[in-house]
């Protein structure tokens, strides 16, 4: 998994509340069973005057010259709310985003970020606004080791993050591999639980289901 320790980059301000995952990657831009090929569809509804021809909307922040190479987003509260689609995070990461600073995040989106090497930083709305005032070609530093964001003018903002999420990102850990090491504990739990809640453990082959093709089926 991708690590995140410290990152310096241009931060683009997108200070709207409740930016949902439909806005981050519209459903119509998810064309393949794939975690890649999504960056072009990032913010497609806002980024392009016409999504079909990909003609950029000059008013959208990521299309402005000073934010063209942005790797950090400054966003409003509840960023990434809505649909669970991890494609939103894959699109952001493929585009080049490494960290998002916002007052709060959609819960599923926040976990998806950590699973994909993007750091979700929670700062107070006033602090995000202060950072947005300084947004421009001068880079911002996001340091997970020290749990601080350093503004271009040197002002330091400390942030909190769950210990497990911090460790996952710093070490680039694969949670599936970590949990597979606990296999014996999982098996022991299931043996105990099967005594108490046998109805949870369905038969290996599910009951047969009549599969009557509707009229006109091939």
């Amino acid at each position: 998994m991708e690590t995140f320790v410290v990152h310096q980059g241009v931060a683009a301000p997108l200070l709207r509340a409740n930016i949902d995952t439909d806005a981050i990657i519209p459903s119509r831009e998810m064309k393949f069973v794939s975690k890649t090929g999504l960056a072009g569809g990032l913010f497609a509804g806002w980024r392009y005057l016409d999504a079909a021809t990909r003609s950029p909307d000059p008013a959208f922040v990521l299309n402005q010259a000073e934010f063209a190479g942005a790797t950090i987003l400054l966003a409003g509260a509840n960023f990434g709310c809505g649909s669970s689609r991890e494609h939103a995070v894959w699109a952001l990461r493929e585009y080049g985003i490494r960290a998002i600073v916002a007052p709060s995040f959609g819960a599923i989106f926040q976990t998806n970020c950590i699973r994909n090497g993007i750091l979700p930083v929670i700062l107070a709305e006033a602090d995000v606004a202060l950072l947005a005032q300084q947004a421009g070609p001068q880079p911002l530093t996001v340091d997970l080791q020290r749990q601080v964001v350093v503004a271009p003018d040197g002002q330091v903002f400390r942030f909190e993050i769950a210990a497990a999420a911090r460790e996952m990102l710093l070490e680039g850990l694969d949670p599936v591999a970590l949990t597979l090491r606990l296999d014996a504990q999982i098996t022991a739990y299931q043996a105990r639980d099967r005594e108490q809640r046998p109805w949870i453990y369905l038969a290996k082959s599910a009951p047969p289901v009549p599969s009557v093709p509707p009229p006109g089926a091939e």
Binding site: A23, M30, G76, S83, T111, N112, V176, W199, Y201, V209
Partner: protein, 456 residues
């Protein structure tokens, strides 16, 4: 709980995992590519609901660009993994959060996850059910567990009797408008109180469905006899001696009188009216008789800008009445409001009446079982005679994925859960409401109060 991981998080056993072709396909495909096996295929279920067409005679071909690959990859990987698949032509196919309760897959006290944000719907049966990403779905499939940070707890007690024409959908739009779309951020919400206990299971599913639009980790209702009676005899629910054993266990699953919650909300809901949204967030909702609010009166700058932007997108003015706003389309369906009771309520208003000229009206039952049950009661005739399209089950036009939509900038009244920009189509203007409000509006050709049509 399998193990404590640290002070904040635990390794939880996952009793049921559900997948669908939109986000489950990539999880199953990645798992295969990583050479990992599905630990308990018998505890996993998969359906085709998001991409599959809802037109008669449907197959793997869809109107959605690239959709066929999602359907076929899901089928192939699910079959190789030995997962029970509710395939395109399966008589039990339907929307995940409709068929899981309907088939007795979700049970009280179970942990249920699905890479779908509306998984919280299933908390209505007293389960801990929540939406996850595709990577987390891989974790569950490989280990039958998930690493979870314990959410804070919140009890929302809704007291009082609901007015005529007011249902679970109105309650939640009212609650979210009152407390904001991030009002339950970080909390698992228990819905309690007399108004909730009086709701049948299908209405509780609607209630919990919208918990995610309230930013809750999940929503749930303590299981009671209403739930137990609902589950008895369902296909995957326990039977015979195991039923009795399960029932004894389920009766212990409720918050005791000493239960402490991190947050408590006690609200009287007897004055709630039929609700409709005017903006692009579920929090942008008002009573059906109210006017569009004025952003200038909003103290918070970010909210104010959001409201201004929403009004521009929706082509509305502050002070404008929502009632009588002309609509071009009406949609009844989705994991929020597509169950038999929803269709019955709408049909009661539609019986013997006609959809207004120029309105495209569509009803999409939530499952093939709901569709058959509705047809057995003759509801399909009522919908069709009124001028509604009557479809096969699926998520359908709850969201636009490049296939079907109502058209550019169309104004739609919809029983779905999200009025986000371009969610239902290119720059579509979605107004969320209950099934009876949508039915009444379809008849009027304008956003309409359903109450004058009730009881005749």
């Amino acid at each position: 709980m399998v193990a404590e991981l640290d002070a904040e998080s635990s390794l939880l056993h996952i009793d049921r995992v559900f997948l669908h072709e939109r986000t489950g396909s990539i999880a199953l495909q990645t798992l295969e590519q990583d050479g990992r096996r599905v630990r308990h295929p018998e505890l996993a279920f998969c359906t085709m609901d998001h991409i599959v067409d809802t037109l008669p005679g449907r197959g793997d071909q869809t109107l959605m660009p690239g959709g066929t690959a999602f359907i076929q990859t899901t089928r192939e990987t699910a079959q190789r993994a030995g997962i029970r698949l509710f395939d395109v032509r399966d008589p039990l196919q339907g929307i995940v959060h409709v068929i899981s309760p309907e088939q007795g897959i979700v049970l009280p006290g179970t942990t249920v996850v699905c890479p779908d944000s509306h998984t919280c719907t299933q908390g209505a049966l007293g389960a801990l059910a929540w939406g996850i990403g595709s990577s987390e779905a891989e974790h569950v499939l490989a280990t039958q567990t998930l690493r979870v940070a314990k959410p804070r707890s919140m009890r929302v007690s809704l007291e009082g009797a609901l007015g005529a024409g007011v249902g679970a959908k109105d309650l939640m739009l009212w609650l979210i408008a009152r407390e904001s779309a991030s009002g339950a951020k970080g909390h698992a919400v228990e819905f309690a109180g007399a108004a909730v206990r009086a709701l049948p299971v299908e209405a509780r599913l609607t209630l919990c469905n919208l918990a995610v639009e309230f930013s809750a980790f999940t929503g749930m209702v303590a299981p009671d006899d209403v739930v137990f009676q609902y589950l008895a005899g369902r296909r995957f629910a326990p039977a015979a001696a195991q039923w009795d054993q399960a029932l004894a266990h389920w009766r212990t699953l409720h918050s005791g009188p000493q239960a402490r919650f991190d947050r408590e909300l006690n609200l009287d809901v007897s004055q709630v009216e039929p609700m409709v949204t005017w903006g692009t967030s579920p929090e942008h909702a008002v009573g059906i008789g109210a006017a569009v609010p004025d952003p200038a009166l909003c103290a918070d700058a970010v909210s104010r800008r959001g409201m201004e932007r929403a009004l521009q997108y929706m082509d509305l003015q502050p002070g404008q009445r929502l009632q009588d706003l002309p609509i071009g389309a009406a949609f009844i369906g989705s994991c929020t409001n597509s169950r038999l009771s929803d269709l019955r309520a709408a049909a009661q208003l539609l019986r013997g009446r006609k959809v207004a000229a120029g309105v495209r009206a569509i009803c999409v039952p939530g499952s093939m079982q709901v569709k058959r049950d509705a047809e057995a009661e003759g509801l399909d005739r009522i919908f069709v005679d009124a001028g509604f399209e009557w479809r096969e089950s699926g998520c359908s036009m709850c969201f636009y994925a490049g296939g079907e939509s109502f058209g550019l900038r169309q104004r739609v009244i919809s029983t779905t859960n999200r009025n986000f920009e371009s969610r239902q189509g290119p720059q579509t203007r979605s107004h969320l409401a209950s099934p009876i409000t949508v039915a009444a509006s379809a008849l009027a050709g304008r956003i309409a109060d359903p109450r004058p049509l009730l009881g005749d």
